[in-house]
């Protein structure tokens, strides 16, 4: 139980995928202009991460021991096809969400955060439950970063930003500042 709690906190705050490990930066920079969109993107991320984690647990348990050389290919193929299925479901269920996510849902397919989750979960030797907690924690961490970024971006929208830092420049500065702030979580609950 204590281990699970630690995995959760660690994946969400201490080793936040976006702000500490710098994985999944494309949605972080691309879909963080509005809070509402950011929340939905985060939800999609959590969803895909949970699916990934379950798949990876299954692959690690049954397939990869027999064919370790297939690791990365298996991860990419399985995750990509799963995300395609998710995309079809979202297009059918919520066309608005589909339009709003635009290019970014297909981007999740090749997103480093998803493959990162698969590889990190494997290298840390997490089983099914631990992997699930890890995926939910990481997904929530991504959502947290996205929503924080979006709410800050909505605030500074009216700021008289100097021309050298308009748009993406300022976003990167904010991302760096958030990352500095998240350094405070370093080593949390590790002792």
């Amino acid at each position: 139980m204590r281990d699970l709690f630690w995995i959760f906190v660690s994946s969400m705050l201490v080793n936040n995928f976006t702000l500490v490990l710098f994985l999944g930066l494309c949605p972080f920079l691309g879909v963080s202009a509005k809070v509402a969109t950011a929340v939905r993107m985060g939800m999609a991320d959590i969803f895909v991460m949970v699916i990934t984690s379950v798949t990876v647990s299954a692959l690690n348990a049954w397939v990869l021991p027999h064919a370790p050389y297939l690791k990365i290919i298996a991860f990419i193929v399985v995750i990509a096809s799963l995300v395609q299925i998710v995309e079809m479901v979202i297009r059918k269920v919520s066309p608005t969400l589909f339009r709003e996510l635009g290019i970014y849902l297909p981007l999740i397919t090749t997103n480093c955060a998803i493959l990162g989750l698969a590889l990190l979960q494997t290298s840390k030797g997490y089983g099914f439950t631990e992997g699930l907690v890890y995926a939910v924690g990481s997904g929530l961490g991504l959502t947290l970063a996205l929503v924080l970024m979006a709410s800050i971006r909505e605030t500074v929208e009216l700021a008289s930003v100097p021309s050298i830092a308009r748009n993406m420049g300022l976003v990167l500065i904010i991302a760096g500042s958030l990352s500095l702030a998240f350094m405070g979580f370093a080593g949390l609950f590790s002792s």
């Binding site: 929503v147 924080l148 709410s151 800050i152 909505e154 605030t155 500074v156 700021a159 008289s160 930003v161 100097p162 830092a165 420049g169 300022l170 500065i173 904010i174 760096g176 500042s177 958030l178 500095l180 702030a181 998240f182 350094m183 405070g184 979580f185 370093a186 080593g187 949390l188 609950f189 590790s190 002792s191």
Partner: protein
Amino acid sequence: METPRFELTASPHIKGPDSTPRIMWTVVGSLVPVILASVWYFGPSAVLVIATTTASCVLTERFLGHGRTLRDGSATITGILLGLTLPAGLPLWMAFIGGVFAIGLGKLIFGGLGQNVFNPALLGRAFMQAAFPQALTTWPDLGGSWWALRGDNLAFPFMTPHVVSSMTGATPLGLMKFEGAHTALAKLIFGSTGGSLGETASLVILVCGGYLALKKYLDWRIPISIFITVAVLSQLIHIFMPGKPDALFMLFSGGLMLGAVFMATDMVTSPSTPRGAWIYGAGIGALVVVIRLWGGLPEGVMYAILLMNSLVPFINRATQPRLFGTGKEAAA
């Protein structure tokens, strides 16, 4: 055209004497006793470090900013506050870079005063902590000649500073965290402990903060809610886990006083609603306790404030007061 007989202006119609420069220079004035206390304890090194950060902040504002915000004193405050969070023996070139970062990337890049998201001084401090971790955690010991420099202040840029081993001490929080040693409360209150320049003299900070709160130049809700949260949480934890420090130690050690009074209350980066101020303070207090007791670092005030700074847009939105005359539904 005939001049109108009445002056037509938009509200507010009742004007007070307070203006941005007036508020800012009053804050600078109220920081003077804190600076004097740090000079009393840390000697010429304190003067050098604080002067360097102030100069670098004002220069950055002068050369990268619009120029029109130079005289309002905000860059001076950032510089002084940044200096007060640094250890006395810090090489001055590092202090200078910190000041440039604080104003350049903490404030001007957002469009200048009033538009930044993070407290510039703390952002500069966090940047320095990431860039020069060792120099930023080398605390000089008290004692020795008052006239002596408390470290290698004059180290040449990008050279390794000489660490005088006999002069490095530890902060009360560091002693608590890594050795489990207590520091006497009287020492903490009057400031004769190791630590960064401005954080040691808790009593002086409280008096200056009280003055500013009376003048309504800072929102008293923020420091009060930080103190209450830290005190209640740490006392509860102390009761259940006696190994952890008690409330008084938590309140008077480290940068809590300086952070709660002068940094968390920054008008730009704190919430604009009274309810938001309570939430913001409570969040800072809780994060301070968690980072101090369970984090990898002995001190977490800086990070707690920065993290809550990033939540301020959210808090502001969630605590919008109901418009007078509208129903409950209209507020949502």
